[in-house]
Each structure stands twice: as C-alpha cells, then as structure tokens.
Symmetry: none
C-alpha cells in the first residue's frame, strides 16, 4: 500500500510552524508496512487542495490529509472535501455529543460556530476526536482511501493511533515488519558506529537494516527486517541484538519494542525505583527544575518522587540545603563540594533513598577560563554513599540543560543497578 500525506496550512508554507505532523504520520505508516511516496504541503486554498487530491490519487492508495478543520473562516478543508466528493455536510449526532461534552467539561457555552464542528460530509465515516472538537473523516471512493484529520499534532497523532492505523491493519494485508531499537546514552554516533562496525557489516546477510537515530545525549539504534516468515524475522533481529550487547552494554539503558512508544529514561528510572520501593529527591541549580519536570511527566511518579528544591542563588543553597557558605568563596557553586552537599542536604530534607544534585554554567554567559560555559557537576546520593562527576558540554543553554538531565538520570539508574560509573 502506497500513501501520500497532504498537510494543509499557510503557516506551514511560510515556515511559521514546522511540519512535525507529517514526520510522525510518516513514521507510523512506515512501522505499519505502508510506503509513503510523497508529502505535499499546500495552502488553505480550494484549488490547491483539489489539485493535490487529484495528484495524490494518481500516486497513492491512501491519502492522509491534515489541517484546515478549525471552526474559523480560514479553514476550508471540510467544504472542499464535500465539493470534491460531491456530497453535502450533515450534522453527526455522535460528534455533536463529543463537542457538547468537551464544552461542558470546560464550562463554556456552546456557540453555533462550534456546533458546526459536528457536521461531516454525508458519505464519510466520522472519526471521533478524543482531544478536540474537529472530527476526522474517512472516505473510500473508487478503491482509494482519503482520511482528513485535524492539524493539531496532539489530536492528529491520537486519531492515527486509535483509529486510522488499527483500521488499516484490520482491513488490509500489510507486510510484516519487525523493528527493535536499542536505546543508548553516553557515547556519540560516530564513536558508537566505530565500536560496532563489524557487527553492522554482518547485518546485510540477514536482511536487517540498521538506522542511527541520534538525539542530544542519546543514540537509538533501530534494527528493521521485512518479510513473510514472522518467527524467523523476529529471531534474526533478536539474535543480532544478543550478539552486539556485550560490546555496548555500558551505554544501553533500554529497548524500544516493536510498535510501542519509546521508553524514556525517566520512565525506566521510575520503574526501577518503583520495583525497589525507593524514593527520590532532587536539588537542581543549573537545570532549574527540568529534571523534576521530566520525572513528573511520568504518570504515577508520586509513588517514587518526593520532590525537589531549585535553589537558584547561593543564599538558598545554604538556607534550604545547608550547603556550607565557605564553599561558595573557595570552590564555588559549580564544584564537587557544592553538589555533594546539595545532594546530601536534599536527601535528608525529603527523607529519601536517593538524591540527585546538579550545579553548572548553562550559559550563554557566566563562564570563566577555568569553568567555561557548559561545565556541570552532578552528584548522586544514596543512604550509603555519594558519587560525583564533572561534565563539560557545549555553548547552547537549552542543550546543556537537557544533556545535564539525561546524564543525571542515567547516572542514577547506573548507581541503583550497581553498574559502576
């Protein structure tokens, strides 16, 4: 099955919004065994939309359309779909209930404009939007499938996951694809590639493709294989993973399973704490709350996260965490001594089993010759010991904050699993 994605919206053409939706949809289709042949981004303009529909049906069996479904005047996709499929809008009772429920929950009066959100073309299957008022629409005409979805990524992706992909899988014989991804932290892409070069060369004989997916501080290694014999394909991939693990085990923090979301380091750490019935607390200086934020995005984190203190000035490192004031005038706030006392202080304050403390120069200013921007000290404390490590990252503030967090979290995972540093 061949697919084209059509993204509708002037804001995409003038670069005000980056088209992340198309990338995510492309990934989901690819994982389901559907080949994406083109992504077309076009204006909120009737003629452009109709021309792109005509061009897409020449190339693809499946056309996924996003955007232009809002209640405002610049959103014209729904009326254009009606014109294209020679049909008319009708009120869909189920969709109206959804719109009503959303407005009731938000305590807002439902206006006539918003009621119109529940109108869909007569010949389509309406798709309930669990996260917004604009329904999706599924058309099948002359053997071609057209699916129109809202453009808000949060709404689009949920609709793809809950409805579009399952329906495509149920109704079409898609080829078997198996992916498994090794999650690594602590080694750059090219260094990792050099480590596993011979193993990588051996993959071709088993028809396995390897992709390096780098993101700041991490590299994901995705193995993919296609074919008919499901059991054999899975075995080939698993065998190859078993083969490479001894070489890179120091850097591996988890695996991403076929069709499941990427496990995040914060969830992996959370599960580990939960399984051991341990609690964590944090003292964050240069990361300003980011590590706590990552941990508390995990549902149920209150079972293992006690809390944190963000002391953004030395005065508060002293007052709230009992860091000795002498340290600031001798070693400075960005030092092994300081993070050690911060970690031990916050461990006590929150009566926890483990604590992380970070202090560094996130930048862009504040660096010195001795401690350049990107210098970060991290301490990990348990009730038995405190370990520390110095990192030197780069110049970019946001990236430094992120890299500090990733290393802090994986460092604690390694401490708990007693893997050494």
């Amino acid at each position: 099955m061949r697919a084209e994605i059509i993204s509708i919206g002037d804001e995409l053409l003038i670069g005000q919004v980056i088209n992340t939706n198309a990338a995510k949809i492309g990934e989901m289709l690819n994982l389901a065994g559907i080949k994406v042949v083109q992504v077309s981004t076009i204006a909120d303009d009737k003629l452009s939309i109709i021309n792109s529909f005509n061009a897409a049906r020449e190339k693809a069996d499946l056309v996924l359309i996003t955007g232009g479904l809002g209640p405002t005047k610049d959103d014209i996709t729904k009326n254009t779909l009606c014109e294209y499929f020679k049909t008319k809008l009708v009120l869909n009772q189920e969709m109206l209930e959804n719109v009503k429920a959303i407005f009731a929950k938000r305590n807002i009066v439902l206006s006539e404009v918003n009621k119109k959100q529940a109108e869909v073309p007569e010949n389509c299957i309406a798709i309930k939007n669990n996260n917004g008022t604009a329904p999706g629409m599924w058309f099948e005409v002359d053997g071609k499938i057209f699916v129109s979805m809202p453009g808000v990524p949060f709404e689009t992706i949920a609709m793809m996951e809950n409805f579009v992909i399952p329906k495509l899988k149920a109704e079409h014989d898609l080829p078997f694809i198996y992916h498994k991804t090794i999650l690594t932290q602590g080694k750059g892409e090219s260094d990792l590639a050099a480590l596993i070069e011979d193993w990588e060369d051996s993959l071709a004989a088993k028809n396995i493709k390897l992709a390096y997916l780098p993101s700041p501080g991490m590299v994901r290694l995705r193995l993919s294989a296609y074919g008919e014999n499901h059991a054999q394909i899975i075995k080939n991939v698993e065998d190859k993973i078993t083969e490479v693990l001894p070489t890179i085990s120091k850097y591996v923090y988890g695996f991403e399973e076929f069709g499941k979301p990427v496990p995040k380091i914060e969830s992996i750490l959370g599960n580990l704490l939960l399984s051991k019935n341990k609690k964590i607390a944090l003292a964050e200086s240069c990361t300003g709350g980011y590590i706590s934020h990552l941990l508390t995005t995990v549902a149920g984190s209150s079972a293992w996260f006690n809390g944190s203190i963000v002391p953004y000035h030395n005065q508060f490192k002293n007052e709230l965490l009992n860091v000795n004031n002498k340290i600031f005038s001798t070693a400075g706030a960005v030092s092994e001594e300081c993070v050690k006392e911060m970690a031990e202080g916050v461990l006590k304050k929150f009566n926890s089993d483990y604590a992380i403390a970070v202090s560094g120069i996130a930048g862009p200013s504040g660096g010195t010759e001795e401690k350049p921007v990107g210098t970060v000290w991290i301490a990990w404390s348990s009730t038995k010991e405190t370990k520390t490590r110095k990192f030197i990252f780069g110049h970019n503030r946001e990236r430094n904050i992120h890299l500090t967090a990733i290393n802090a979290l994986n460092g604690l995972r390694r401490m708990i699993e007693d893997e050494g540093f």
Copy 2:
C-alpha cells in the same frame, strides 16, 4: 513570483528526520515577497524527482530543490537534473578548489568519489558551498528557475542567505510583504473568532489576511498584507491592530514582529520582572518543576528568578512551605486554601516579591467526582495580596501540566501589570 520547494530524501518520508529545511526556506522566501505555493517531499527516486519537477513548473516560477547531492550511491539528484535538462556533468574548477580546501582543512586525503562533488551540469550556474563539498546549481530554462541545494540545513540556509535570495532580489521586482502577529492567552480559537468577527470581516477591504495559529493554551493572530506602498501597508496593519486591541486586550500578552522570533510568555514575564527589579519564587505541585524549567530556559533568568520548591507530597507542603496540616484533611491538597498557603509560604522562604503556587490533578488517574482529572488551583502572591483561581483542563497529563504553566505565567504577568483577572 510563485515558488515550490522540493525536499528529496527517504529519511524525511519515514519521519526519521523532520523537514525543518523547508520551513526555514519558506520563511526566507516569504520575507522576500515570494509566495510559496507548495512543499513536496519525495523519495530519492529518479521517476519521483522528474515527476515532481514537471508538476512544480506548472505551479511555480521558482523551484527550490534540496537534498540528494551527497557523494554516496543513494544520492541521485545531480544525475537526474542532467537528464531532465538534457545536459552532461563537467568538472568545475572553482568548485574543485572549494572541495580541495575543505579536505585540506580537515586533514583528509581527497578521494576520486569526493572529486566528483565538483562536477556540475554544463548549463547551470554553480553555487559555491561555504560549509560543505556539494555545490548548489542554478538553472534557468523557459523562464523557470530551478535551484538545487544540499540537504544539510546548515549548508542550505547559508546558500539561501548568501546567494539565492540576493540574486532573486537583484534580478526580480518582488513585492513588499508585512506580517505582524498578536500573541494571546486565555481564550480558545473559536471564542476569539466570535469576539472579533466584525473586525475580521473588515480586513478584506484593506487586503489584509488573518490567520489563527493555535497552540495549547494560546492563539496567535497573524495579520499579513502585500503590495507596493510600504508605508501604507504597514500603516494599514498597525491601524487594524490598534482597532482590535480594546476588544481582546485581556488576552494579549505580546506581539511577534516582522521577521523576528516569537517572544515566549516566560521571556515576556522575565523582562517585566527585570524592568521592575522584582524577584519571583515558585511552589509547584502538579507541574513538578515545569514552570521553573520554562523560566530558567530564559538566559539571564537568575536576575529575577530566586528558586522553587516542588513538594510532591503533603508532608513536604507542610514541612517546607508551612501549609497547615488541617487543610489536607478538610479542603484537600487541591484547594484554594492549599495553594494560597503554598504561595505565601514560598514567597517568604525565598524572600521574593512575587510567588506562584499550583496544585492540581494532572492525571491520568487521581480524579474524583468532585475534583476530576484536570482540576487545578493556582495562586499568585505579591507582598500585598494573594489571588487564586480554579481551572478545569482535560485528561492528558502533559497537556494539563503545560496549560497550568501557561496560565500561571500569564496570570502573574496580569497581576504585575495590574490588569485584573
């Protein structure tokens, strides 16, 4: 002048790489007065490339192509361009010097494969790549311009800035375009549209286009106008903004200026605090450090951010912020009483001028009939007063955290600017 952007690369179609290049090129063209009519993302495949060239020349005067110019076998753009324009590759001496210089700088021996990078089609103008080995290529055939550029964003954007945009401006009479965007928070897209309906209808008479750009918790309103008379166009847009402001002033937190990055609410609040020489502290329960994180992404935030406490359990709300334990057994942790004491407690603890406290049920579990998932209380304290407000958001944990943060930050901005709630 109408343009189409063609992005070539399998990695874009399967979502392994997000197409940021097209967004940036679109923005640059738009700012230069060139209308982007389509972005087509296609595979590294000869037939797809030729078909997309043919389709693009029907719609556009200018076709900007990125990707597929690397030295490896899967990069076929250059040979396909030769075939399409019925020409052959010739070695370009200036481009060869560039390739040689780059290899010399990196201390790498120049291979035959890499020398080929300096070959370009005979009928094109070669464009020197200041950041890499693959030259750009400029073709003019039958009144249509085709420009092929490398796909590495860093290389593409420099080539656009240094060569493509200046040459287009020098050789073509491009219209003037003016955009200005009103940043709003606190009112949904459709409610906002209802408020400004009459005003929106009046824009057409001035040839101004309005776009609604919603993101969670916020809506940006972009006004755009094109034409010859620069001063008149700017005046028309500014007059219309002045006209609508009284209607929506409660929701406006800033403006995005022509060609500049979007100001974030956290930066706007930070600048406001800085200008008044005031300091802020936070007590974050359900947001788990996210608001502090947003504030500390702003460079220089230590000038106005003192710190925060994330007390993720009642015990620590009591111990660290002096919230009266009775509140937990009567009103509960998600209550007006609790956030009021949290805000006043953290204000004192960090000796600050302003404080924000939040407590809520982020979800997905933990809701009750009386306090469903998404219920959030926010308190804003100054040294003079404390204000509180209850919000009911949705079911999604991450979204609830984000919406709480956005509302908390804009609420404090409103308190400081004394705009009322």
